[in-house]
């Protein structure tokens, strides 16, 4: 399981939860798991061409990734941030 940090922009989907666990071997698979439990969440973060949306940032630990294919290992933490979207 991967620990996932949910940003405030998405807590309306997760009933306020900011820390969750989700299964899957890649960033995309973890987001798919979250989307099954919280329908609609993934599309707000990842577009229909599997690109991370412009003002969303994903980190595996301290390393940023823009790829849904990025692998996640046991004990990894996926951090989702909303950042720099303007006023």
């Amino acid at each position: 399981m991967t620990r996932v940090m949910i940003p405030s922009q998405l807590t309306s989907y997760t009933a306020g939860a900011t820390r969750l666990e989700a299964g899957g071997g890649t960033v995309g698979a973890v987001l798919d798991d979250l989307d099954r439990r919280f329908p609609g969440l993934k599309f707000r973060v990842i577009d229909e061409q599997d690109r991370v949306r412009k003002h969303m940032r994903l980190f595996i630990g301290r390393e940023e990734t823009r790829s849904v294919a990025a692998p996640l290992g046991e004990g990894d933490e996926l951090l989702i941030f909303g950042a720099l979207s303007g006023g």
Partner: protein
């Protein structure tokens, strides 16, 4: 049927609903809805009077469609919002839905959505799931007509959808880079409809396509009459004719015929209103001279009369975006406009006089008048 009106207001920071009494005198506000979300369009379904759809996004999150089936009391998110097919050859993804259009009266539950980058989508289940219209989105000319990176400062858009009330297969699109497109086969095929519409920002001033149709409107009492507020003037087309006439030439020279919106009269096909904006030198896009006014024609665009009673007499620098000027369709048409400065103004007497009914809202993107649920 009640005479009360609901005004559905989309802003850069959420949505508000203003509900009037039968006389359109007193207004009660509900909101904010979806505070902080960018609401490009909030539209009521005239076929059931209960369904509302909102096209939303946020600064961070991707776009979605929010739905209410109880007149706005409760909201749920669409299961499958408008999205281009995964892996489509041009790599497009929907940035936001710009325009929502209830389908033809004969098709309850059908809705259409126009997006940025330009795309057309259809729902057959009241806006819950959406499909890409390949007849347009995969058209061989799509990148010529509607390049994803062309168009307005907020992105390239299809700015509006108009459906012929006599024929569900017959629709028009107002677009930012292909002018008006027409289909007669329910969106399977499209063709430009821009003859004689000027394009003063291209080497060929009268191209087959390339125009920026800010808004079009079919006259409700004669859907063969199409009004157009274009980037380069005000036009009228009477079908089956193909050649637009620049009726904005009759506007006062010092005001010009640049603007974003055009509103038809519900029962008189000779009457329409525009809200001119300054399109001189660097295109300030505010009320010319700082003196807001609508202009009304009652002879099909042959002449225009200024209507400014109630608006600021000076220092009124209004900007009214494409979706933010509308009529309510009542016999004596009420008119409503929302400014980028967060004010809503209304006229209950077909433009003769105006009053402010709301202020201090965020930047207004859209104002839609509908009968109260």
């Amino acid at each position: 049927m009640t005479d009360a009106i609901q005004l559905l207001v989309g802003t850069r920071k959420g949505a508000w609903i203003y509900r009037s009494d039968a006389g359109r005198t007193d207004w009660r506000v509900e909101g904010p809805l979806f505070l902080g979300q960018i609401v490009n369009h909030l539209v009521a379904d005239p076929r059931d009077r209960e369904t509302l759809l909102a096209a939303t996004a946020t600064g961070h999150l991707g776009p979605t469609i929010l739905r209410s089936t109880d007149g706005g009391t409760s909201w749920t998110e669409a299961k499958a919002p408008p999205a281009f097919p995964k892996g489509e050859p041009h790599g497009r993804s929907v940035n936001h839905s710009f325009w929502l259009e209830p389908g033809h009266a004969s098709e309850p539950g059908v809705w259409w959505a126009a997006t940025s980058p330009p795309g057309l989508f259809r729902s057959a289940d009241g806006g819950d799931t959406w499909e890409s219209i390949d007849g347009l989105n995969a058209h061989p000319k799509i990148l010529d007509w509607l390049p994803p990176d062309g168009g307005t400062p907020d992105g390239a858009i299809i700015a509006g959808i108009s459906i012929d009330p006599r024929d569900k297969d017959h629709m028009y699109l107002a677009t930012c880079s292909a002018g008006v497109l027409e289909t007669t086969d329910y969106g399977q095929s499209w063709r430009p409809l821009n003859q004689n519409v000027r394009c003063d920002f291209l080497p060929d001033p009268y191209p087959e396509y390339g125009q920026d149709a800010h808004q079009i409107a079919l006259a409700p009492s004669n859907p063969d009459r199409i009004w157009q507020q274009n980037h380069c003037g005000i036009y009228r087309l009477d079908r089956p004719g193909e050649r637009w006439e620049r009726i904005g030439d009759a506007m006062p020279r010092e005001v010009g015929d640049i603007g974003f919106s055009i509103v038809p009269h519900p029962s008189c096909a000779e009457t329409a209103w525009v809200f001119p904006m300054d399109g001189s030198d660097v295109w300030p896009r505010v009320s010319p001279g700082g003196r807001p006014a609508v202009y009304r024609t009652r002879d099909g665009g042959g002449s225009w009369e200024r209507q400014d009673r109630g608006f600021p007499a000076e220092q009124g620098w209004f900007t009214v975006k494409r979706q933010a000027f509308c009529g309510d369709g009542r016999a004596t048409q009420g008119l409503y406009l929302g400014t980028t400065g967060g004010e809503i103004w209304m006229s209950g007497d077909e433009g003769e006089s105006w009053r402010q009914i709301a202020a201090h809202l965020p930047e207004i993107y859209s104002v839609v008048a509908a009968p109260a649920a």
